[in-house]
Subunit: 324 residues, 2 copies
Amino acid sequence: MKRPAVRITDVAALAGVSAGTASKALNNTGQLSQDTRERVRRAAAQLGFTPDVRGRALSSGRTFTVALLTTDSSGRFSIPIMRGVEDVLSAGELATVLCDTRDDPLREQSYLRSMVARGVDGIVVTGRRTEPRPPIDVPLPVVYALAASTDPADASVIVDDAAGAAAAITHLRTLGRTRIAHITGPADHRSAVERAQAMTTLVGEPLFGEWSEQWGRQATDLLLRSHPDVDAITCGSDQIARGVCDRLRELSRAVPAEIAVTGYDNWPVMALASRPPLTSVDLRLEELGRRAAQLLLEAIAGTPHHGVLELPAQLVPRESTLGG
Amino acid sequence: MKRPAVRITDVAALAGVSAGTASKALNNTGQLSQDTRERVRRAAAQLGFTPDVRGRALSSGRTFTVALLTTDSSGRFSIPIMRGVEDVLSAGELATVLCDTRDDPLREQSYLRSMVARGVDGIVVTGRRTEPRPPIDVPLPVVYALAASTDPADASVIVDDAAGAAAAITHLRTLGRTRIAHITGPADHRSAVERAQAMTTLVGEPLFGEWSEQWGRQATDLLLRSHPDVDAITCGSDQIARGVCDRLRELSRAVPAEIAVTGYDNWPVMALASRPPLTSVDLRLEELGRRAAQLLLEAIAGTPHHGVLELPAQLVPRESTLGG
DNA sequence: GGAAAAGCAGAATACGTTTTCCGTCGCTGC
DNA sequence: GCAGCGACGGAAAACGTATTCTGCTTTTCC
């Protein structure tokens, strides 16, 4: 069972060349005849040779490993990003190592030291909030995902929240809604503020509160009292939107016939379980993770990007605006 | 900024010893005078020396890296386990590399090859379902988490679902409930079946369906038609329980005054958002991940465990049974 | 006081790969 | 026929650490 690990010297021996030559053949470097390359490749295939990453790392500096530094690995925002990152990296035969800092600067420092000592090829930094964050100080390629670096010279990829919010508004106006209100999360959350600002021509001021269903229900009451004639409510999150829908149903206000509702985040467990299912704005976080990983690969390859890349969000229409 | 990486030879030079001696001093191996050890340690601290994992890996075989093989990294079950695993491993200065197989056997094979080539010290295998899974074939320490290996000689850590279900029943009986029904997920899911079997002295047969709120609502109607006098409903998941609560409220049946409801999984976003908040059974998945990681560390250290370790679940009482 | 034993540290080697530097061979052009 | 060049592949060094082996010094015991 425990086959004794075939090394490059074994391959070289079988192909009748030296170890160095075998290395060149397998990595398409140096100058070798096509014939020799082919012979070595066949030998490697026959033996099922897989280069030992340890030796390779020591010798070439490349470790084919990337660190994923996240402030919380449990959040529903970090997870899809992780998936996207890991997807791209694994396709390139790179390994992704997980560093969950738990929002603790000490843990972050400790991880960074450790990752530098490991000689990772690069780092993807992500977080659960969209507020820009201070850059990390490492002599390595770094890409920031979701939460941009405050240093504009760094490479960051984030979601275009304003465009996503605008898309929701446009969608509602196309459907003929004119008196649109907005209920969202805390006023000190950048995502809440950015979305609210992009929601033009609102009825009344945006209602800031929490990212919870309860606040959605509560805010619905407030809103209907001050603006009884709204015909659409855009929400800063699917949780809030679900609360809004629940409350409207309790009040026998038909959704969307009477009042259309939109969510935000397109979190399946909320958006689909809501009654009715929510029209929402998908952040495309997995794609964001992929792009971040691609940028990192390019930076590792020697062509780093700079500045912030904003990815478009995508409106996903469902019954809460389209009727049923 | 880019300091030129201090190596062990630098430390050795500063301490006035050879590289090999420095290594021994820092790793507490070999025989050295206490004085020498101290001197080397001071030199290392002064220089901020962090051993290069690459060199260490090549030399000692140990790579201080563990692979976390998961069939899906997005599930709400895998995530807490990952956290627990990563928590323990990072405390031991080990790195956790993420391998998301997406339920694809080919990807799994490819990852395993890659991890063996990397020389990881061990592997934690986890999944999103509790059904036992075929073992992986690698010459390395392995621990299975959540989904046990079908080979009893392997080390597995799982949740004691039967005990969790029994705890819910006991809780309800203590509260004086006697006519208890059960609504749960698909009959071909082990977790549904195990929980249902442990629910003794039920009113009627368990209702198998989907893990969804909609099924919870639907099943509530079915149940009330056949057994109008139930005074408690245990559910196989929090989603189902939330659906049950919603339907009961629509029917003006008070929870828990008239009918008590319990969930399962203690998934905060469901259990806390439900009206009323759900009494639920916490799977303690993070703890499960921790235990798995600890077992793996012991196996790596040379004292492997065998067989299945069942961890207790924990009942978390809330208003859906305790009244309000 | 001498021999054996213990304590200590250095030199050398190994880990598996990549990469640089050379040497050889065959060819071209004069 | 010879200098020079290009194409190819081998030998060796390098990466940074751990570890084994060896030898020196000091202690201990008779």
